[in-house]
Structures are given as C-alpha cells and as structure tokens.
C-alpha cells in the first residue's frame, strides 16, 4: 500500500526535525525541537514533534511515521547503540513511538533514510548502486545496491566511518586505532586545519579563526580554500587523499557507481570535491577497465533524513504491522 501523507522525523545530536510529506506535493509542513538527554525525554520530544505536525493544516490525515536515528538501529526498530545521543541506549523506539502516537512506525538509521531521499529525488537519483557518505563529527554511511537499501543482518550496515584504513594510526573514540573517520570526517578536516595553523603553515586560516589555532574548524578550512588561501588548499589536499582512500575501499568492495557526499561541509562544493575526485582517480584499481565513479554533493541538505524517513514510512513494512 502506498501511503500518500506521512511524517518523517530525523533525530540528530542537537535537534529533532520533523516533516509532513505529501507523496504528490513534497514537504508540506515542518517542525523542530532541541534534542534532550535520556531515552524517555527523547521519545517524548519525538512524540511532541509528531503531535504538533498532526495538529497542523495537513497533518490530520497522516497514515504513518518514519524515524531516522543516529546509530545502530536493529530490524525491530530498537536503537541498540547511539554514541551521539547521551544517555540513550537499547531504546525500543519503534514500539514506544507506535504506542505514543498510535501510528504505524518505521525506524531506520539516519543515513539510510537520507540516502533513500537522495535516491528518490536528489543526488542519487538514477543510480542503483550508490553510497551516501555524510561528513560530520564522524562519518555516517548509507548503502544502496541493485536499487535496494542495504541494512545488514542486524540493521547495522553502513558503519563506514569505522573502517580501519591506517592500522596503527590515530586513536578513535570507539577504542580502536586508524578508523577512517579520524582522517576524513568534518571533525578530521578541522584537526588537519588546526595542525597546519599551529605549525604556521596556514596564516590566513589562522586569522579567519581569530588567531587561536585551537579554534579552527572544518568549515574554516573550506571557507578559506574558497578564497584561495594556499595553506587551506594544502590542508584540503591532505583531507582529500584520506577521504578518497576510503571511497576507493568502498568502491572495491561494493562496486557502486556513485558516491553522494553529505553534511554541512559539502556546501563548499567543488573546492572540496575536486581534490577528492583527483585523489580518487589515483586510488582505484584497474580504472581503465571500469566506468568512472561519480563523486557528487548531496542535494537535499539537512532535510534528507526526515524526508527519507517519511518516504520509507510510506513504502516499507512497519511496526506493528510487520
């Protein structure tokens, strides 16, 4: 059954963002709230966002709820592990939200939701084999193979940020060393920038951050690079090499034809992506025997997760129906 009007909610580390999606007309309403601490408060906040949207002009006929959560979401809709949501662990979100809203509910990983939205109406449209790579504090991932989302046996697929690319490398929050996200996330770009600024290799970048190298962020690097700062461009080259290395790993394992890059940093556009494309070309095996892989910016921005959750709520088996 195709539902025509659904709600999608994307839960992030700082905000809970909900939309009402009309399958024929797109997003017709939206609402956001601050992410609280703890499981009970989180369920209450999501329920409140849903309630506000249902009281709106177009919310009365909503037939299902989709929710995207950051972390390991199992196939029953339970968040098993979500390091970016303090105090939240082993949360049966699907069941609790179905009870709280009296709607059928679909819960998924946030990057999986975002990829589905990009596939339906954004940068992954027309590609049946694609990855979504979101650059934030870490690296999130969504996988699409043969036109189908890949969730994995437990629902945990796409934890691409914890692919080890440098065996004895930088320590990661996960307790191991050398995870890709330590080198190629938005947070890592900031770290490369801080190192360059502290070493005197990026004076313009340092000035942009107010003179304290500790204040340099990933966005400062891309902004300085847009203005042609040579120091920032060198930092981006370093970042691009590491980022491309991980993309090549994914292409070798999965043979995807498109890599969609999401997260706030991609608003910088080609100043970020061109060095990645150049570095990728040097890192793929047997390039002369395979069609080129497209590396493109996500198109739906911060709305993708909520839109994708709403789309999936309209299409997929739901709790408690499934």
């Amino acid at each position: 059954m195709q539902r025509r009007l659904t709600i999608g909610v994307d839960v992030g580390g700082t905000k809970v963002f909900g939309v009402v999606l009309d399958l024929d007309a797109g997003v017709v309403d939206e609402h956001r709230a601050t992410t609280p601490e703890g499981s009970d408060a989180l369920v209450a906040t999501i329920s409140d966002v849903v309630a506000v949207l249902r009281r709106g002009a177009r919310g009365g006929d909503v037939s299902a709820l989709g929710v995207g959560l950051p972390g390991l979401v199992d196939r029953s809709g339970t968040l098993r592990f979500g390091p970016n949501l303090p105090g939240v662990v082993e949360l049966p979100a699907g069941r609790l939200l179905a009870e709280a809203t009296d709607l059928p509910v679909r819960v998924d990983n946030d990057a999986t939701c975002a990829l589905w939205a990009e596939h339906r109406s954004g940068a992954a449209k027309g590609a049946d084999d694609a990855v979504l790579v979101t650059l934030g504090t870490g690296i999130g991932g969504g996988l699409l193979l043969d036109g189908r989302l890949v969730r994995g046996a437990n629902g945990f697929a796409g934890e691409i940020g914890h692919m080890v690319v440098d065996a004895d490398g930088v320590a990661c929050l996960c307790g191991r060393r050398g995870c890709w996200e330590r080198y190629a996330s938005g947070g890592a770009l900031g770290r490369w920038g801080r190192e360059a600024a502290a070493a005197g290799r990026a004076p313009q970048l340092l000035a942009r951050a107010g003179g304290d190298p500790d204040d340099v962020k990933g966005e400062d690097v891309t902004a300085a690079a847009v203005e042609g700062d040579p120091g920032a461009l060198v930092v981006l080259e370093t970042f691009a090499g590491w980022f491309a290395l991980g993309l090549a790993n994914l292409v070798h394992v999965l043979d995807v034809t498109r890599c969609v890059i999401g997260g706030g940093l991609v608003e910088a556009g080609d100043v970020l992506l061109d060095p990645v494309r150049a570095a990728f070309a040097d890192r793929v095996v047997a390039p002369e025997h395979r069609p080129p892989v497209e590396i493109v910016a996500a198109e739906l921005g911060g709305d993708a997760g909520a839109i994708g959750a709403a789309l999936l709520a309209g299409e997929e088996p739901l709790v408690p129906e499934s």
Copy 2:
C-alpha cells in the same frame, strides 16, 4: 525455469576444473585441464572440458553452462581484467563460449560462484548475510546480502583484497600501498613466515622449509603451528591480527553474520581460525550490542567454484537469453 543438469567450470591460474551437476544428486562427473596462456587458448580449453563432460554418461542432457573466472567479470559475461590469467584481458567469455558450446552460458567471478555453492550446501548455509574470503596468492571475495549475491553495478563487487588497511604500508601489485591482501592472504602468511625464519625467530619453521628462509610458504606456517611450533604460532598471531582487521571492516560496512574462509590454508582448521576469532573480538565496534559473528572454514574446498557456477547456470538469466 529450474534446470536439472548443468555444467560448471572454474578457471584458476593453474587449472580449469569442470563438473556435471545434477540438482537432485550433486556432482555426477568432473574433468580438469591445465590453464593455458592467452584468450583463444583459454576459450578452447574451457570448450574442451565442456565437450569431454558432455560426451560422458551424464553429460548428454546438460542444459546450461556456468563459468567462474578469476578477476573483474562484467554483467555481460566479459572478463575485463584478470591479473592471474596471463595474456587474457577484455575477454567476452560468455558470448564466445555460447558460440563454441551452443549452450546458454552464465559467467561470474569465481569467488561469487564459490560463495553460492557454500550458501546452498556448505558453510554459508542458513546465513543470508555472509562473505566468502578466499586465501590464496591474494584475497578473493564473494558477498551475500539479504540472501542475494552482490555483484555490483559492473559485476566487480567483492574486490576485498584491495581494501587499503595500512595507508602508507607495503607496496601491492596493483600499484598502490597497504592493500589487505599484502598482510592477510596465503601469500602474506608465507611472507610473515619468511621474515620470522630469516630473523631466527622460528627455527622449527626454518627446518621444515629445508633450511632456506626464502622457501617458507604459508602452508609451512600452518603445518608447523599444528605441531605446536612456538615460532609459527607467533607468526600466525601476526597474520590473524591483520586478517581480523579486514574482516571487522567488512562487518562494519556490510553487517554480515558469517565470514566463510576458503582457500587451501583453511584445511589447517582451528589452528588458523582460532587466533582470527580472538583477534576479531578485539576489533569489532560495540560487540556488546550485536550478535557474535561466526568465522568458519569453507566446506566444499576446491570444488566450490565449479559447483557454484553450475548452480548459477541452473538458476540465473543466461547469455544469450538475458
């Protein structure tokens, strides 16, 4: 349509091995030949193996041919790149073999074929999300997700041996550095063994190889370890750490529940796999929130590729039908 009697041929670097498979009774005949050099000779040899099998008692009613090739096989049945087959490149094997044998033909990557056989009647039975990792000179890979083989957009999925795990590491034949197969293939186990023998850290291993450290092979390491040689056990620990690191990468990306390990080395059994299991447990993120991953030996040995090719010929769309 389910075909009842098919031929499967597995092409390796040294031999071409064919079987007649009866879906009800299993393998009813087999034949092998030496792998020749060059495309024309290879097609002729495969055709000969097929002809011999069809002249046999059970070959007359064969309805389709499946072929497993080592390398990048595209969706049209062309071998685009096969570094282990000298003189063979851009070979339209599906079309040429269909013409030569007058049978409908299915061509696939050899590891993909082997995984399908293990899934149907071997070590991957009952697992809908599994990887096959074959240890040879390099590392080959087959992927099964949601019960379906993953071939990728071009047919090139599963090139897991070229996942970079050590960014500035050992040079690989592919022209890059730090590929997993440089650290964790059968060939790599031999290299770890040679290093230990040359450094005087594995005297029993050195004696087993006849006194010349350059002659130590991966099989010598596992054989010495079976006998309790402390030097060989330390070598296996090193190998196991690297092997487990790559398995953990695959589990984080794909969320498979079973890793089936193939190749001649796995005949050593638990002396090889127990250290891998122990090392894996230290390398998986959030183990307390996910069911354990099974790491098991392949069961069908060297026959898996041919059996899988024959199974796929009985089940999948074929050239020229597709």
